[in-house]
Symmetry: C2
Subunit: 350 residues, 2 copies
């Protein structure tokens, strides 16, 4: 090892879901939306004058932040925009969790949380969810350096009611509480309104799932002006211009089409609904989902084996080789057609 | 102050150049390119199927990294792609400067370096450039935790020869040496070839200046596979997908058009050349520029006053209220027409 390597930050990186590309594949492994973005997005690209690209984007992602404020009925200064919700969450960890007490998040949740904590040297503890994968709110009433709750939780798909979230926030006036609502558009109650009541509550969302724009990398947070201004200062200390001009304009345009948004989300919820009995008929236990994916376990067959046999058929779902959930599969809700092909493949395999 | 604020990382953010938007303005304050991106970029956007956006981008920015490897005659694993060179440099600071010895960079240089050092708690020292704003290479022969040199340097516009850079690298086998070549396409000798000889040398570049794509946020680094893999691990611990699908595809396309690139850069260099005597006639001292901007000081008039009077006329240049350079202006090289309007305005003011 060379001496310069002594100064290197070595980390165990997060491993994202595979991004295979077979023409015939069914890709149900990264919770992408099966429908395209709002038609207005295509119109923005078609009419775009590329000369604009020689200029830096607006550092405050103006059009997008403004449209978000309008959509969610908050002020412009209550909105933070980032490169997907991972960028927003990463910035929030770096900004708000500088204390010595451990931050708290469930043992079964989005697997990026411990990765950010390691990266920035943030101590953390992970209270165990119960045997039904439900978060126990009392676990979050101890002294801590911050709280992160995904609602609906991932990969469990379970949403907790707003009163549950508010109980946690109310017990933690001395910490920043982050509620990660990446999947809230597919079910559950948003904590957005609570951000007006609690200045230490940050709600994080994304365009990657319900708005079909994973490729545009857009996430956002809503919170008190104080919270947002702290995040802005850290962001501006890292990179003044994180959002591309096209993400700003296409993101803003997508928000304007509420009809398309509602229709797309409803279609996914309908497909989710009819997929549950189909999977149950095949012998799967299916957790009650408020997300655009299902978390399932088979009564007889091992999850890992099913995962691999599906892969052979170019059907990709997600398997986590992790304690407590290593006999579960996470299956993104695709189109009805994709789900039917999945069920047929499962019938063959089982 | 609320108790939760005790855990907040408070920082002095970098202040980017203004982004004014008057229809009649001449914007020479953020070193943007006066010419549009390569025509192929418009073609990519016109022909783009937005359905692709529902998918996550390729985490390794595949098409772009591949094209960069081809263009610069290095391997795919020698390339790191980021959201502008600020993201690339920020990631490099976080990755390579974890030691206790101070990192070194000149007192007069890109003003983001101390900001990243503060953000990540990296100790640093800033050896003074000499009275002609030249870097003294011997200052970088002491023990250190890392070295950062911009070449050409900003805002001084001065390029040092390759032998000078190699001397610094050779004296620092135990540190990572970053050479920030944001402006190298406009003059000076690149250290790219040296990355094959020194595994601790990282060269950083951007699409924001010479490729007219500031709005697409594309920067990159080239270095040994070891250096790049360390950066990748840190990047993947922060955000698996930082580059939008459109930045990846448009960036790759832009690289293919070498003719357009060369023509655009040459036009800017010609305008720079004819601007020097014009400014000298007006009483300015002009530093010998290898960049797409000029660093000038007037024999009689105060820089701050000229800056403000130009602003009144909607001509924007950059002024830094900083020790040693507070009587200088940084003027981006625009089109011949824009420069002529600048000279006319200066004639009026002086």
């Amino acid at each position: 090892m060379a001496l310069w390597e002594n100064n290197v930050r070595t980390v165990e990186p997060y491993v994202p879901g595979e991004q295979p590309s077979f023409p015939d594949m069914i890709k149900l492994n990264t919770n992408e939306n099966p429908y395209p973005p709002a038609p207005g997005v295509a119109a923005v690209l078609k009419g775009f004058d590329t000369d604009v690209l020689r200029r830096y984007p607006k550092p405050d992602a103006h059009e997008l932040a403004e449209q978000l404020a309008k959509e969610y009925n908050v002020g412009f200064n209550n909105v933070f925009v980032g490169v997907g919700s991972d960028d927003v969450l990463g910035t929030a960890f770096l900004t708000f969790f500088k204390g010595r007490l451990p931050i708290l998040f469930p043992d079964i949740t989005y697997s990026f949380y411990p990765v950010w904590a390691e990266l920035y040297g943030i101590p953390y503890e992970t209270p165990a969810v119960d045997e039904d994968f439900r978060i126990r709110k009392e676990d979050y009433y101890q002294m801590n350096g911050g709280i992160v709750i995904a609602n609906p939780n991932a990969p469990t798909t379970i949403a907790e009611p707003l009163s549950f979230i508010e109980d946690i926030v109310r017990h933690n006036a001395d910490s920043v509480v982050i509620v990660d609502e990446a999947y809230i558009d597919f079910g559950g109650e948003s904590a957005l309104e609570l951000t007006k009541k609690y200045e230490n509550l940050l709600v994080v969302r994304t365009f990657s799932k319900s708005r079909s724009m994973a490729g545009m990398r857009i996430g956002f947070a809503i919170g008190s002006e104080k919270l947002i201004s702290y995040m802005m200062a850290v962001r501006n200390s890292y990179n003044s211009y994180t959002m591309t001009t096209l993400s700003i304009l296409c993101g803003a345009e997508s928000l304007k089409d509420r009809g398309y948004f509602t229709k797309t989300v409803e279609r996914i919820k309908e497909t989710r609904k009819r997929s549950v009995p189909e999977l149950e008929k095949l012998g799967f236990k299916v957790l009650d989902s408020s997300a655009n994916f299902l978390f399932v376990s088979h009564e007889k067959a091992a999850a890992k084996e099913i995962f691999e046999k599906l892969k052979e058929k170019h059907i990709f779902v997600r398997y986590f080789a992790k304690p407590r959930i290593d006999n579960y599969l996470r299956i993104t809700v695709g189109t009805d057609e994709e789900m039917d092909r999945l069920f047929a493949a499962l019938r063959e395999i089982l």
